[in-house]
Symmetry: C2
Subunit: 216 residues, 2 copies
Amino acid sequence: MPADSAPSARTQVRRLPQRGAYDRATLDAILDAAFICHVGFVADGHPVVIPTGYGRRGDHLYIHGSAASHMLHSLQAGIELCLTVTLLDGLVLARSVFHHSVNYRSVVVFGRATVVEEASAKLRALEAITDHILAGRWAAARPPSPRELKATLVLELPLAEASAKIRTGPPSDEPEDYALPVWAGVVPAALTFGEPLADPKLTPGIAMPAHVRGRS
Amino acid sequence: MPADSAPSARTQVRRLPQRGAYDRATLDAILDAAFICHVGFVADGHPVVIPTGYGRRGDHLYIHGSAASHMLHSLQAGIELCLTVTLLDGLVLARSVFHHSVNYRSVVVFGRATVVEEASAKLRALEAITDHILAGRWAAARPPSPRELKATLVLELPLAEASAKIRTGPPSDEPEDYALPVWAGVVPAALTFGEPLADPKLTPGIAMPAHVRGRS
């Protein structure tokens, strides 16, 4: 059973605190449902935000490749990151412009990321990242060669200082605005997946496996 | 015709430079297609990344409300931001774990955001943000009252130092891996919208307007 994080000064949701959550079950559900995170770090005093894939394994998040390579120069002692995941669930159309909003689930994780050096730990982290793109994919694809493993930078971020923020439900208008002749409601939104497209270079006769079919 | 940005030291796409683009038509198309941005800033030396809505008006982006309120304490002289937008277009399943990827379109904008103080400029910015959620919504909803306008913090970020990064198409495997008996291809992904749900408190008889129906 994972430990819940208590809100820290920077994870405490101050604006609309009723939307904040800190329990690990809520955090994990959002982290496991999203595909892309946005990782922020400070480079030469300036903020940088890069989108990238990620994986979760127990109490740690892992990122690799592109995002990590941007941060290489300052990695020796680890690097302070803010990793944010957002799922857009709907457009919230209120009667007043002021109360327009979106329904969403987001997680913000603060912490110091460190490089995963040891080969077997690195493989387990890459498995988490790969199976987060598509469950079952790690077992189906060719594993990393020693050269590829060496060329891949993997960062580990503890899931210790984190908070979730969630908005659901219909718009919330000013009491006097409910009488206005304005349509109000929610347009649901979701990331959806289409029919998989085989690589034009796919060897004839290789059937689409169940772990791919199941996604669309 | 908007001016294209020349790549700066920090917008120059260094890793896989063939994926980089700097022309305004490409940047604008991505910015106009996405709904949510992730805004990064530095607070007490630490990176912070917050998801929020945004709008574009010519050569400027606008954000307001929640994200902006997190930054209030350091706003007097403007604040250095990195605003990133990402559209996930597909899961790229290669024959090797190493070449797994995603298809995406992203834009990264660096710059100093300043507070929009003047009331009519603020209204135009809020119109851009509101109509970015749903085109036609500004004209349909009750405009901000003077009190609401005063309570809303709006930030303006010039679209001057920006780059796009795009990946499309099938996986790119090592030449010797094409012979492996591994299914490879792309699972298309897109944010999609469902049938609008009327607010349970909607006054009976108000029909769903065309600008809402058109979204689903």
